[in-house]
Symmetry: C2
Subunit: 277 residues, 2 copies
Amino acid sequence: MEQISANRAHGGMQGVYTHASAVTGTDMTFSVFVPDHAPGARLPVLWYLSGLTCTHANVTEKGEYREACARHGVNFVAPDTSPRGDGVPDDEAYDFGKGAGFYVDANQAPWSTHFRMRSYIEDELPALVAAQFPVDMARQSITGHSMGGHGALTISLRNPGRFRSTSAFAPIVSPLNCPWGEKALTGYIGADRADWRQYDACALIEDGARLPDLLVDQGEADGFLEEQLKTGLLTAACAAAGIPATIRLQPGYDHSYFFISTFMAEHVGWHAERLTR
Amino acid sequence: MEQISANRAHGGMQGVYTHASAVTGTDMTFSVFVPDHAPGARLPVLWYLSGLTCTHANVTEKGEYREACARHGVNFVAPDTSPRGDGVPDDEAYDFGKGAGFYVDANQAPWSTHFRMRSYIEDELPALVAAQFPVDMARQSITGHSMGGHGALTISLRNPGRFRSTSAFAPIVSPLNCPWGEKALTGYIGADRADWRQYDACALIEDGARLPDLLVDQGEADGFLEEQLKTGLLTAACAAAGIPATIRLQPGYDHSYFFISTFMAEHVGWHAERLTR
């Protein structure tokens, strides 16, 4: 692991790192914010998964999480959204290929060689973070935006007990039921829609997966709400499954980091409550 | 004036605007954050002048000012740092020409045609902002970063009574005494250093200009501190003139927006106290 940059911010250190990933077969870049802490102390960690087209940099620059993370004593880890590099296949659209890994392990050529973001986020990166940073891996929470909200929900649903709490900003709640999801899962996983259910938050809940609670914020002025995000499907799935979910529609807010940054401190505080109980 | 974008954020509206400037002879872009307010109400305004290479976008994306501005009810205006466009002369270096207007009215060819950022910031833009936004022009404050800190200090010193309060992040305190300043003022104003004193905060103070008080934050790990920023000259000038100045060296902080965003809310709050007295 190599440090790309380190900047003091809000009483902590914001770092950016790169490492050779065995899972993706590429170099992978991610950022970690570590609040000041007593020598030897290990702090809880909040994972943030980013949306389509993003790298670690978008939330690191525009997410406005550092003040709240420093105040609550929570590490903040932001991975990239796909493998990258000259040898990695790509698609000319913004919603498939580089920047659009959808947190799945692809099994379709040519994507299956590098596009293994599920294993990268679930296994390889946590092991690296646990080894290299002052993180208490018994106290993890997860959140994300849009495609990353889909990632946060599905990873948490598939790994019961790993995360103390789960939240999302404007998540894709059901790839089975939106154009972004249909394109990505067909491309990465193949045409058998039964195989997609492990990558669909609503389907996972229908199939029995549970969360202790859930916080979701969704902008009402988000141009992707109706066709792609379909928050109502998640509300219905949680209600049917008895999952206590706070799913809020925020009037006037769109899909941008202006929206995310507005509610970020509240999400960090909500997770911190559950991480420090 | 044309609106480029409008995003709801932190209980207010973040807008970006462009207009044809008579002063610079170019289109000029700037951003304004307007907190929610009662119909007809006019809120105080904090001006933020940006540093070398920046546009309105850097602080708008990375400045983390919106939460504090919304909480205190303060408008936030962020202008560009120079004229731009195909017809505007430039220099290949980052510290002269486009992105480096230094908040002066140039009188040297070829710069004098467009590089009139002093008049733009002091006269033209305030008139436009007063006409187009819910701003109480009797309650203005000013701040800025680096070259923009120089701008905030010198504009405030030259316009006594206009600003309720003045602060800066890592300002260039004396262009007469640093390479950035010597290059810019020679280029824009000519070789007569007596003409530079109107654009040098320390010289303006030596020549009798005064501020009611002053807040400055400066990172100790800022790579520009020793050669370019020279905060100590401002501390000495304020002490000699009896200006009550809080000038803080912040251990570990550098020159980036990681530094600025850390102390932004505190600056907004400090200004708000003086704007709402």
